[in-house]
């Protein structure tokens, strides 16, 4: 079968064609639904496709246009929503058996904003259970394949969203990033992903993994598309106490005016060394050279506390998750196991959690329970929070010298499904470069910077900006993206094998 050329359009192009009447939103939605139909059996990006809902939304956009109403900048553009955001009337599983069949009675703020902007929600995407993982292998509903090589992981936890983008099932997607779950999947699938400043995008209705680290953000195939989506979902929400009450940084304007001319770009010495794949380092070094050619000044930085970031993360995130996931007790919603009249409520809760959670989730709950228990708190959780302070201080010092920092997004390209499944420590290393940003709360982006010569798989370049300077990511990202496209003669994603 032949795919509609519509699916290859960017979100910006699609929106323009819908606005001008060249395409209808229904046509666009149908093209993507057909693509999902054709390839998702192989990719497994979606856990739930809301065919009827998507078409109804698309029809509403077309009616609005027919009536001459003004359309938003992404009206009618299809999107794949990570299955961690609540959607009223549509199942939300967070990739877990414990929420199988749960239909939320309310919409997340992000969901609401997408709907209000007339973005068409195609369905819910696969993810590591409760966003715990870097490969999407921890989904209770089976792994997702990387469209570049279906035997490899698409990154995680947001592997469904990145795979949907890379396989043209949607031009836009939403992810969440607790330790790299937007950026690392973007890196290994040759797409763009942004973790906004903590507090930039509401967490209301985003099922919590680690409250002080989680941040929802945009995923797309181009920097401009990510910016357009960023602007739709960001902004103050009174329902989230940690939401920043300030104007959204001018991300779209920045994405339209990419430049690094005269910018100071930092390279942190802690972001290389043992564990980094040669091809990743090679593409990263080339990116630094490119930045210099584009007019940036490169500054070497030393951020010694970054060496402790992974350790601090694997205490803080499990601690918070052990508490956040306590509510899944089989009493009010979701799975209930063992309720055969012989077990007490307490036993039913334990049996439900045993049956409903996968091994990685249990591992982290146990770890967090340990780190918070009396006698261990100071040594573990307390120290981890001190590390957090030191990392913030390192970032603060760095940003006195530079405007942005760059690094590889992840130390290796996509690894084969199953390779690290039984080795949690090896899996955790995938987030080595992304975690410091979550701990400090500032913004970061991953965008493609080429294929690693040894395996021909995408490599991600990470750009890190200070708190609430998310626009710098787009300014730099757009410049780098344009320079690479010029150098390669086409966007990197076009080198992905067709499915």
């Amino acid at each position: 079968m032949t795919d509609s050329p519509i699916i290859k359009l960017t979100a910006a192009e699609t929106a323009a064609k819908i606005a001008s009447g060249e395409l209808t939103a229904v046509e666009v939605t149908e093209a993507h639904l057909a693509r999902i139909e054709a390839v998702d059996e192989k990719v497994h990006a979606f856990l739930h496709v809301d065919r009827e809902g998507a078409l109804a939304q698309a029809r509403a956009v077309d009616e609005k246009r027919a009536k001459g109403e003004k359309l938003g900048p992404l009206a009618g553009v299809p999107l794949a929503l990570k299955d961690i955001f609540t959607t009223e009337g549509i199942p939300t599983t967070v990739g877990s058996k414990i929420l199988e069949g749960w239909i939320p009675p309310y919409d997340a703020t992000v969901t609401k904003r997408l709907k209000a902007a007339d973005v068409v929600i195609l369905g819910k995407t696969n993810m590591d259970e409760f966003a715990m993982g870097s490969s999407t292998e921890n989904s209770a509903y089976g792994p997702t394949g990387n469209p570049w090589d279906l035997t490899r992981i698409p990154g995680g936890s947001g592997g469904g969203s990145s795979a949907a983008l890379a396989s043209y099932q949607a031009p836009l997607a939403i992810g969440t990033d607790t330790g790299g779950s937007i950026r690392q999947p973007a890196a290994v699938t040759g797409t763009v992903g942004v973790k906004p400043t903590y507090g930039g995008v509401s967490r209301y209705g985003m099922v919590a993994f680690s409250s002080s680290l989680d941040q929802g953000g945009p995923c797309a195939r181009t920097v401009l598309d990510a910016a357009l989506l960023h602007e739709v979902i960001a902004g103050h929400d009174p329902m989230d106490s940690t939401s920043i009450d300030a104007p959204v940084p001018p991300v779209v304007e920045a994405a339209r005016n990419g430049s690094v001319e005269g910018m100071r770009v930092g390279v942190v010495k802690q972001f290389r060394g043992e564990g980094y794949q040669a091809g990743v380092i090679q593409r990263f070094d080339e990116s630094v050279v490119l930045l210099k050619e584009l007019g940036a000044e490169i500054v070497e930085l030393d951020c010694p506390s970054f060496d402790l970031a992974l350790s601090a993360y694997y205490l803080i995130a499990p601690s918070e998750c052990s508490s956040n996931l306590a509510r899944f007790d089989g009493l009010r919603y979701g799975l209930r196991a063992g309720d055969d009249g012989t077990h007490s409520a307490e036993e039913v809760t334990s049996l439900t959690r045993e049956a409903g959670f996968g091994p990685e989730v249990k591992r982290r709950i146990m770890l967090g329970t340990y780190a918070l228990s009396s006698g261990y708190y100071d040594a573990y959780y307390g120290s981890a929070q001190k590390v957090r302070t030191l990392i913030k201080q390192d970032f603060d010092k760095a940003f006195e010298q530079v405007d942005v920092i760059v690094s590889p997004t992840t130390p290796t390209t996509a690894f084969p499904i199953g390779e690290r499944a039984d080795d949690p420590m090896a899996m955790y290393l995938a987030d080595l470069c992304t975690i410091p940003t979550n701990l400090a709360g500032n913004a970061a982006m991953s965008l493609p910077c080429g294929l690693a010569p040894e395996d021909n798989l995408p490599v991600g370049l990470q750009i890190i900006a200070p708190v609430m300077k998310d626009d710098r990511l787009y300014k730099v990202g757009a410049a780098v993206e344009a320079a690479f496209v010029e150098k390669w003669g086409h966007p990197l994603i076009e080198e992905a094998p067709s499915l």
């Binding site: 955001f85 609540t86 939300t92 967070v94 929420l99 749960w102 939320p104 009675p105 309310y106 997340a108 967490r203 209301y204 209705g205 985003m206 099922v207 919590a208 680690s210 409250s211 002080s212 009174p238 329902m239 989230d240 106490s241 940690t242 601690s319 918070e320 052990s322 508490s323 306590a326 509510r327 899944f328 007790d329 009493l331 009010r332 919603y333 409520a345 307490e346 809760t349 329970t369 918070l372 228990s373 009396s374 708190y377 959780y381």
Partner: protein, 504 residues
């Protein structure tokens, strides 16, 4: 299920041991909405009609702090002479229980909003005792479970339970005392007086109605004994959810007697929670704290710190009402009553009605007389609280005004009040409808006196002969004839005048 507990007499217990108490009081605030969501706190609504994603703990939902809840906490802290934290956080107290939707309670741990205060309380004989306050912190209430299938609706033997989360998330302030030492035999009385005074403070602040019978205020009584002359505290028991002032006193007393029996029998007290039983006045063993509870407290990451500005705190301090004890002492002076009388007024719930009656124009003595007399009796008979009677302080004041003007005497006034309570209208309407007016028309009165003298010649003669005391019988006859509406003193005057004797 009957369990017998060995007790020693109270006197015997106090002869050997010195009680140390710690009181933890939970107060449900009277805010319109819950602590962390916009659900209503109204009572008596259908099950699960006042819940939302936040207070049901649905995946993804997030809390937002109720500003009035924080303000109430600061007011309570100030009224309890506490320091108010410049910066404090909420913390999660992690434990599983079906009535708690998130399986953690959003509370405060090592950073309470108010700490280090005291409350002076007055005992029955007027003696003042200072109770030191450790802290007051903000937290949330749990839902309500109904146990089904057991014989008594109790948890024991129930086949299953039903949960209503309307109460889940209602703001609570937990107020914890420092160890209360030195109360000796008066410890139970101090406990009761403290809870009562605290309730008065809470009510005066207007942050809660603090009705114990409705669970808006609940007390946990921690108690331990130590041999006289020793410093170290003994092992304590924690009697949970004691829900009346009387019960607070009884629970403390019972635990003193029980602990003493265990200790003097060479036993050791088990650190455990206990339940108080209203019917028997005794406590029974609850949950033994086997493995020390590990609540794994940590700062609530979904809420940001609360840093009350000094301006805000001072603004609240400036508008703090006069505190109840200070006020009672002032009123005592003004009214010229004893400390014990004031305690009686307080115990009867008559303080506010009396104050309101005085404010409406009555003199203090009359206001006190009616509320502590006729009205207290009526309330008692109908099983109501004074403020639930169908008469307003303004109406009582009007009655006293009519008495002062001589329009009513006490006997008529009682009938007026009776009429008002029976719903016959305002005092003036009752006076009109029942025709209750002192007869001051001298003509009518003289005729009635003449009639009485004529009708009772023998008595009249006695009076003429100097037996002035016999006049009472004629006065009675006149009062009867005028249906009580005459001024008795004036009647007596007229009789003596007519019969040509002077009172001598």
């Amino acid at each position: 299920m009957t369990t017998t507990t060995d007790l020693v007499s109270y006197e015997e217990a106090l002869a050997s041991y010195d009680p140390v108490m710690g009181l933890e009081v939970h107060v449900e605030l009277g805010t319109k909405t819950k602590m962390f969501c916009g659900c209503s706190t109204a009572l008596g609504q259908g099950a699960n009609t006042q819940t939302c994603p936040v207070c049901l703990g649905l995946p993804g939902a997030l809390p937002v702090v109720n500003a009035t809840g924080v303000e109430s906490a600061i007011k309570i802290g100030l009224a309890l002479n506490c320091e108010i934290a410049e910066w404090c956080r909420f913390a999660r107290k992690n434990y599983f229980y079906p009535d708690m939707p998130k399986n953690f309670q959003t509370s405060q741990y090592d950073e309470p909003i108010a700490f280090n205060g005291y409350l002076d309380v007055q005992l029955e004989d007027g003696e003042t005792f200072r109770v030191e306050i450790e802290r007051a912190h903000m937290e949330e209430d749990t839902g309500k479970s109904t146990h089904v299938g057991g014989a008594t609706g109790r948890i024991h033997g129930a086949s299953h339970s039903l949960l209503d989360y309307n109460r889940a998330g209602i703001p609570l302030i937990e107020i914890v005392t420092k160890p209360i030492e030195g109360a000796g035999e008066r410890a139970p009385e101090v406990a009761k007086a403290y809870v009562r005074e605290l309730r008065e403070v809470i009510k005066a602040l207007g942050v809660s109605e603090a009705r114990m019978e409705m669970g808006q205020m609940r007390c946990d009584v921690n108690l331990s004994l130590r041999p006289h002359g020793t410093e170290k505290f003994g092992t304590r028991s924690e009697t949970k959810n004691v829900n009346s002032l009387r019960s607070v006193e009884r629970a403390a007393r019972f635990e003193i007697q029980r602990h003493a029996a265990v200790l003097s029998g060479g036993g050791t007290i088990i650190q455990e929670t206990r339940h108080f039983h209203e019917d028997t006045g005794s406590t029974t063993s609850g949950r033994v704290k086997e493995e020390a509870e590990d609540y794994r407290y940590f700062p609530e990451p979904d809420l940001v710190p609360v840093a009350p500005s000094r301006e805000w705190v001072e603004k609240l301090r400036a508008v703090l009402p006069e505190l109840p004890l200070v006020r009672r002492n002032r009123l005592r002076e003004e009214w010229g009553v004893s400390a014990t009388d004031m305690q009686a007024i307080l115990n009867a719930g008559a303080l506010e009605p009396i104050v309101a009656t005085i404010e409406a124009g009555a003199d203090a003595a009359s206001a006190r007389k009616w509320w502590m007399g006729e009205l207290a009796r009526s309330a008692n008979e109908s099983g109501k609280a004074l403020d639930e009677l169908a008469i307003t302080p303004q109406q009582v004041a009007r009655v006293t005004e009519l008495v002062a003007k001589g329009d009513l005497n006490d006997k008529l006034a009682r009938q007026v009040i009776e009429g008002v309570l029976a719903g016959e209208g305002t005092p003036d309407e009752v006076v009109d409808k029942r025709g209750l007016k002192v007869v001051s028309d001298e003509g009518a009165l003289t005729a009635a006196v003449d009639e009485a003298i004529a009708g009772n010649p023998a008595i009249a003669d006695k009076i003429r002969g100097g037996k002035v005391a016999a006049a009472g019988a004629l006065v009675g006859a006149v009062m009867k004839a005028t249906r009580g509406q005459a001024d008795a003193a004036r009647v007596k005057e007229l009789i003596l005048q007519k019969l040509g004797v002077s009172e001598g």
